[in-house]
């Protein structure tokens, strides 16, 4: 068996945000660190929605704002409810710049280059087939016939987590806590983009869309403005998408949903004359900690990023990249702690779990369950956009008589076939979740 004749302190699997952050900090702390990725070039396998919250990244890279490939700082938040051609939009003009849009191949490349500059060995074109176990401890990784040994393996393999499954740590992925995101990047040009979205050159928009873009399947659509491109896409909860196909409700191919969104009469003028630069898809976590493996630390192994279930989805806020980076940071700190407290033993590495439990991510993942109540009620989810637009139609679309709000609401309830009781119970679930 051919062996790379070098043993590392730490091998990190996956050069996404989580793995790159861990490798960067470990290399900086003096650990002999190997970062491997299956892509041919940097960032080849990276895809996400499009927005990153900056502050947790600054904890790792204080130079972020000056150096990172930031597309646009988000200054405007929009949320739209769509029912047929009817659209309700709320816009919030933010007072500060907390998040930015990005193209993940670029951002992840920047992060993994940072790791390399800090002294980590970066090797691409390596698909890890297996985590290597010896005497009940993880001792390295195998790719083909090559085995690379390390005192600690950091698993940053991402959402599909084949390696954890093969190691018997997690079960096969189920559709319950998983959503599918399908995305198009549309090239419009910066001046056209700014004119269409009504923003200045130093502004950016993050836009969440719910309703008919998913044909009633729980999920949503998104729009993020980059410098001269727009990222758009549709996210479907796989459990509900599967049921919709089985019941014959979803009869179109999922790409047609994204196309329907791109061509929607209200939205299409935002990217008039655009060309499609790229099309892709990625699975995303919807269950938060329900998706987490039983433990985050095993002898010789730490689990970070998507593979660990670190993604928050509230229905309005989506935090994945910053959670990934922050978990990579906590893992690196735990390895440092272990070294400084007698060695990289299982007992010492457990500091990672403690650090996670004391972090803002963990607290937020536990606190935010409001979206789940709605997502777990697909029938109501599909009816709510129609209901809301009908209420506004009742108020705004008038010939002679002006309806009272009460009339508008009760008429909308009747025409959409929603009884007041289920609406109140949903509101209760949402309030309880909040």
């Amino acid at each position: 068996m051919a062996q790379i004749p070098m043993k590392f302190d730490v091998v990190v699997v996956g050069a996404g945000p989580a793995g790159s952050a861990a490798a960067y900090l470990l290399a900086k702390k003096g650990f002999r660190t190997l970062l491997v990725d299956r892509g041919r070039g940097l960032g080849d396998k990276e895809l996400f929605g499009g927005r990153v919250y900056a502050q947790p990244l600054r904890d790792v890279w204080p130079e972020l704002d000056k150096e990172a490939p930031i597309q646009r700082w988000v200054t405007r938040e929009r949320i739209s409810v769509v029912s047929g051609d009817n659209v309700i939009t709320v816009e919030y003009k933010a007072g500060s710049k907390k998040s930015f849009t990005a193209l993940l191949p670029q951002l992840a490349s920047w992060m993994s280059r940072k790791a390399e500059q800090a002294g980590a060995v970066f090797v691409n074109e390596v698909t890890v087939d297996e985590l290597v176990v010896k005497d009940g401890k993880f001792v390295g990784v195998r790719s083909g016939s090559d085995v690379i040994e390390a005192d600690v393996v950091i698993d940053a393999e991402g959402v599909n987590r084949l390696l954890l499954e093969r190691a018997g740590i997690v079960e096969r992925l189920k559709p319950d806590h998983i959503a599918l995101g399908v995305k198009e990047v549309l090239r419009t040009g910066a001046p056209q983009l700014e004119a269409a979205f009504g923003i200045d050159s130093d502004e950016g928009v993050a836009w969440v869309v719910v309703g008919d873009v998913t044909r009633g399947v729980p999920g949503g659509g998104f729009i993020y403005t980059n410098k001269d491109t727009v990222s758009i896409g549709v996210v479907l909860h796989l459990r509900h998408a599967l049921e919709a196909v089985e019941k014959g409700i979803l009869k179109d191919h999922v790409s047609e949903l994204v196309e329907g969104f791109r061509l929607h009469p209200f939205f299409r003028k935002l990217w008039k004359d655009a060309t499609i630069s790229e099309y892709g898809a990625h699975l995303t976590i919807e269950g938060g900690l329900k998706f987490s493996p039983p433990r985050l630390v095993y002898p010789g192994l730490l689990i970070v990023g998507d593979a660990a279930g670190f993604l928050l989805s509230t229905g309005v806020n989506y935090r994945g990249v910053d959670y990934a980076v922050y978990s990579g940071k906590l893992a690196a700190e735990a390895v440092e702690y272990a070294r400084d407290h007698g060695g990289l033993t299982y007992e010492n590495l457990k500091a990672y779990e403690e650090k996670v439990k004391g972090s803002f991510m963990y607290r937020d993942l536990i606190r935010h369950t409001a979206a789940e109540a709605l997502m777990n009620n697909p029938e109501l989810f599909s009816k709510l956009p129609g209901l809301m637009t009908k209420v506004l139609a009742g108020i705004y679309e008038q010939d002679y008589s002006v309806k009272t709000p009460f009339e508008a609401i009760t008429e909308a309830l009747t025409s959409e076939g929603v009884d007041l009781f289920s609406l109140i119970s949903l509101a209760w679930l949402a309030v309880r979740g909040l």
Partner: protein
């Protein structure tokens, strides 16, 4: 990459693009061997065939009442493995350095 950029068609009137045309915007380094293998004895017994609708790259197409699979345009999302009701999909990432090459997403 230049071939893909050249393939980008500027639209005059907004109309829905076929998936095969949308996929022209992407770049792959296709492996000679498939990274996904279908067990057709299991697959044939499936009624709903959700892969046909939910695989974003359209790797699963219906020919008559049978699913035909091609791996070349796979975007490596993992959806098919998660939704297959028959557990008929043996799914792996492409061999080192192969598969989709994202540039903008």
């Amino acid at each position: 990459m230049s071939a893909a950029q050249a393939a980008q068609v500027k639209r005059e009137e907004p109309k829905q693009m076929k998936l095969e045309d949308i996929l022209q915007s992407d770049v792959w380094n296709v492996d000679e061997e498939p990274h996904i293998v279908i067990d057709y004895t299991k697959c044939e017994k499936c009624e709903a065939k959700p892969c046909v609708y939910l695989c974003p790259a359209g790797c699963y197409t219906l020919v008559g009442d049978k699913v035909v699979f091609s791996y070349e345009w796979c975007v490596e999302c993992g959806t098919c493995r998660v939704i297959c009701p028959m557990d008929a999909i043996k799914w792996d990432y492409p061999k080192s350095g192969h598969g989709i090459i994202y540039r903008f997403t």
